[in-house]
Subunit: 254 residues, 2 copies
DNA sequence: CGCGTCCTTGATTCATTTCAAAGTTAGTGG
DNA sequence: CCACTAACTTTGAAATGAATCAAGGACGCG
């Protein structure tokens, strides 16, 4: 039964609370320490403050970043320095995968801290060595990347919808990722402008959309804090049924 | 020196001709046969015709698809059956990564054949077993997925630009992926409507954009064939320089 | 040669951007 | 504690790019 799109996440954050105390470790082990880490290892984690920049678009890619806590924004800028695409990532995410590439490459996005965050920073060569010795974790990482890919695709799909829907979807994600209670009052970790960059809208449009959502009763606003008023899923659905298929069989491949 | 965005590709197709005769095998070995395969293995490849559908959005994910030759379109549909996002993939691509997920999952996109294609179809469990025994290939796959991710991000970025630019960028990619001579006459493997789905535009807008490009001398049209008139890269560039960075050091991570 | 599919072109409508100007909020230092 | 400021948000009016609706025209298959 086809409803894989149901699960709404913040740029790939698993929202069902993982048993593992570290959301990264729950999904993939990036180094030996991960296997027994409780989310606060003795070594290797950095505490970052709002506004810190982890990497800049164009820097040579040398490190992986695993988000343990807090929110970062990964954005791409064009020649004029305008943000042309962005996503907000929360706990559980691994950024900077470009660094794994055996041929030297550069980061394609700038990573910036939105709200106080704890991040594991990990040299690419060490990660590569670790994965080479531990095949199943490398596979986990590939699966993780594939999930990111799907999510990004969903984001792309969202762009076909009107501004209001997109804003509501993003806010819902952010709220879910920051608190367990979906109806709690929260302060978003991003400004209207940053939300706009993620959604491909201008700050004014985001503001107007928020106002419309308030007017329609989807949202409550109190200063810079906000609250969702319902737990509706706004979840899209499926394909049109089509016929013929080149259906796979028990073959093998390259 | 920061210009990783320079390399324009068709949804992640490597355009520099790989030494390996199979563009998939050149990037990742998906099964033992890959190691010695010349692009036409004795077993496991399927020849698909235009219009064939490999998988439908929502089907349980059980197989991986590796594109050896030809073009496929991977698209997502919304509840009304409208295409909300799509990409065109050519030789070298591995689709259906969702199948690698150890917990049963479904495909999030429909994969359809655009032009006669040879595709290796590979059961997920077999792939998983193979990768578990061959760590470095799993890592290759993760790198591949990461590259896809970057490309998708670039596509997302493209959406911030006007229709004409996007159409030109896509056509340039398609031309490069289909012939070695960037100035040759080619027949695009997609209709205006399909291009529109990839770009998030309507068929009319694509048509008008093409006409404008012809008028401005970027393109020549002859019936349904077309030709680029220059090899300009239309390549975007970089960030605004910023200062402080949480610069990585020799730490480790989870 | 005729029909289905694909492409072009025009007129109109609409959502979003842009430009511009206030209005809020929260943090700072006197 | 208050004034002051910088950053952020709201709101308005006009401009704009793309979608939509609608009609013709070209290609290519059988």
């Amino acid at each position: 039964m086809p409803s894989q799109i149901a699960q709404r996440t913040l740029a790939h954050v698993v929202q069902r609370p993982a048993p593992h105390p570290c959301l990264v470790g729950a999904r993939v082990a990036l180094r030996p320490q991960c296997l027994g880490c409780d989310g606060r290892p003795d070594t290797g984690q950095r505490l970052l403050e709002r506004g810190d920049v982890c990497v800049m678009q164009g820097d040579p890619a040398t490190h992986l970043f695993a988000v343990v806590e807090g929110f970062l924004r990964e954005s791409t800028y064009d020649a004029d320095g305008r943000a042309v695409s962005a996503r907000i990532v929360g706990p559980g995410h691994v950024l900077g995968l470009a660094a794994l590439n055996p041929t030297p490459s550069s980061y394609v996005a700038t990573i910036e801290v939105l709200s106080r965050a704890r991040v594991c920073i990990l040299p690419a060569d060490r990660a590569r060595a670790w994965f080479t010795d531990h095949a199943s974790f490398a596979l986990d990482l590939a699966v993780l990347a594939a999930a990111d890919l799907d999510h990004l695709r969903r984001d792309l799909a969202l762009r076909a919808q009107p501004a209001d829907d997109r804003v509501l979807a993003l806010i819902t994600e952010l709220v879910r990722a920051s608190t367990s209670d979906p109806l709690a009052w929260v302060r978003l970790p991003a400004t209207r402008e940053q939300l706009g960059e993620v959604l491909g809208l201008t700050l004014e449009t985001v503001s107007r959309a928020v106002q419309r959502l308030v007017a329609r009763g989807h949202l409550e606003l109190r200063g810079r804090d906000l609250r969702l008023t319902s737990t509706h899923d706004a979840t899209p659905s499926h394909p049109t049924s089509r016929s013929d298929a080149a259906n796979p069989d028990k073959s093998t491949a390259t």
